[in-house]
């Protein structure tokens, strides 16, 4: 086992990506994720990798698209306004069925917004984001350790399903330091039959493409892609269940909101309120099943978010509105306090028991 080191979340992402065999990073400076680029700029040249500061986020994601076509592991990172710029390229990567990792260390929006933590890109990340019918695999780390682990997992899932993956973090997760153990990854690139690496005059040419001028063909590729999405929904939904065994109320929160909520859940338990938490680890696929099951047992849900209420829609869909779903939130770079969440839990439970 490797020793634990103290690292910023952003640095943990960068080092984990290198451990996972990623040797190509393209980015553009933006707070609060710049440590990722800085780390890559320092490390990549020493290990024969590529760090390139692109002229824009648009260029960076299209460089990613180029490398992704070769089948090599590749990533970019940015924060909310920059990720909006990348949406064109992300849609092309999704449409060409290429694996790649996009990291979004979210900050407040819309527009230029602010630079403090936010989760208000939830819709953009989980519902597609760019044009067309598609999904990204979206993972939401809640610790520096998970920043590392989920970076590695993102590469693996992206490759397994040929679907781009997004690591959806926020300014807090990016900036905070916690001890992290960086796992050794046994990554061996596999031969793929779809890559553009030169025909060597041994095969017909491969084409990386998302253009289908015949509607019948475009329909067919979309339907086939959604069959893969179905498999992802069945196999890859991940979540953490916390104190849910006898829970009468269920907090739903991801990322930094789940960290804050955990304090509140423990405090509420100490007051005798039977509350637990379901923490979605994958935001797409959304962990519908445990929420549907909880809806049969609990009296209500509390969605804790750093947005005006985005994930709450998925909670309502997953629970088919069988029980009330309340929102507890702060936005614009503000973070709910454990006390605020505790108050919301108490209100939902009808006061202290």
């Amino acid at each position: 086992m490797a020793d634990k080191v103290l690292m910023k979340g952003n640095e943990a992402i960068a080092e984990a990506a290198i451990k996972a065999g990623c040797r190509h990073y393209f980015g553009y400076p933006i707070t609060p994720q710049t440590e990722i680029a800085a780390y890559m700029a320092k490390r990549m040249p020493k290990i024969g990798g590529v760090f390139l500061q692109a002229e824009s986020e648009i260029s960076a994601i299209n460089m990613v698209y180029g490398v992704a076509g070769t089948g090599m592991r590749v990533m970019t990172s940015s924060s909310s306004p920059g990720v909006s710029l990348k949406q064109e390229g992300i849609s092309y990567i999704a449409g060409a069925d290429l694996p790649a990792l996009i990291v979004n260390v979210q900050r407040g929006g819309p527009g230029l917004g602010g630079i403090q933590p936010s989760q208000s890109d939830y819709f953009q990340a989980t519902k597609g984001g760019g044009h067309g019918d598609y999904h990204l695999i979206v993972l939401a780390p809640a610790s520096v350790q998970e920043m590392a682990d989920m970076t590695i997992l993102s590469f693996e899932l992206a490759e397994k399903y040929r679907v781009p993956a997004m690591l959806l973090a926020d300014g807090t997760m990016g900036q905070m330091m916690e001890p992290v153990e960086l796992p050794e990854v046994d990554y061996k690139p596999t031969e793929k039959d779809w890559t553009v690496t030169g025909t060597q005059m041994k095969r017909k040419h491969n084409i990386v493409n998302s253009l289908y001028l015949l509607p019948e063909e475009l329909e067919k590729t979309n339907i086939e892609r959604f069959e893969r999405y179905k498999a992802i929904e069945e196999n890859e939904a991940r979540y953490e269940s916390f104190m849910m065994e006898d829970a009468e109320y269920c907090v739903v929160a991801f990322g930094i909101a789940s960290r804050v909520s955990k304090n509140a859940v423990i405090a509420a338990r100490n007051m005798g309120i039977k509350v637990g938490m379901i923490r979605p680890i994958t935001l797409w696929p959304f962990p519908k099943k445990p929420l549907a099951e909880a809806a049969e047992k609990v009296k209500g849900f509390l969605s804790v978010e750093l947005s005006m209420g985005q994930m709450i829609e998925d909670v309502k869909l997953a629970t088919e509105c069988k029980k009330p779903v309340e929102l507890c939130n702060r936005v614009g770079g503000m973070i709910p306090t454990p006390e605020q969440v505790l108050e919301a839990i108490k209100k939902m439970a009808g006061g202290e028991k």
């Binding site: 634990k4 103290l6 630079i115 300014g171 900036q175 905070m176 330091m177 804050v260 306090t337």
Partner: protein, 176 residues
Amino acid sequence: MTTNTLIAGFGGQGVLFAGKFMAYKGMLEGKEISWLPSYGPEMRGGTANCSVILSDEPIGSPIVSNPDVLIAMNLPSLDKYEDLVVPGGMIFVDSTLIERKVERTDVKVFYIPTTKLAQEIGAPTLANMIMMGKFIKESGAVTHDDMEAALSKVVSAKRADMFEINLKAIDTGYNY
């Protein structure tokens, strides 16, 4: 035990550095730790702060809104955070830069002229580490053993010449 600490001061006072030292010290003692800095334009010459949590339990929120320990390296930090300290908590004050007294009566207060002491030991940039020495002595959040190990994690090899003076600064605070 959990100690929620907020270290605050001007950018350039080594607030984040002190927090990192504290975090490493805790980590090397096998504690759960988290370190969260303020970030953005405020760091450039304005105020800076960081939340450090040292705990025997897994850490929930890494944000310290009500600190057990406040380390105030300048007046704006004391003004801003004094009221947020939990009753029974501690406030460490750099009494060279902060002339007023703490108004709270339900907390333990330590006045240390760290900026002055730092100049006296010939390390004018190490008021932060003098404060760390005092913090270690009074808070009991981490032990006084093996300062070298934690220090070696935060003083880079390039600045190895700074190692001894950092140790001296910690000692100065510890023995103040």
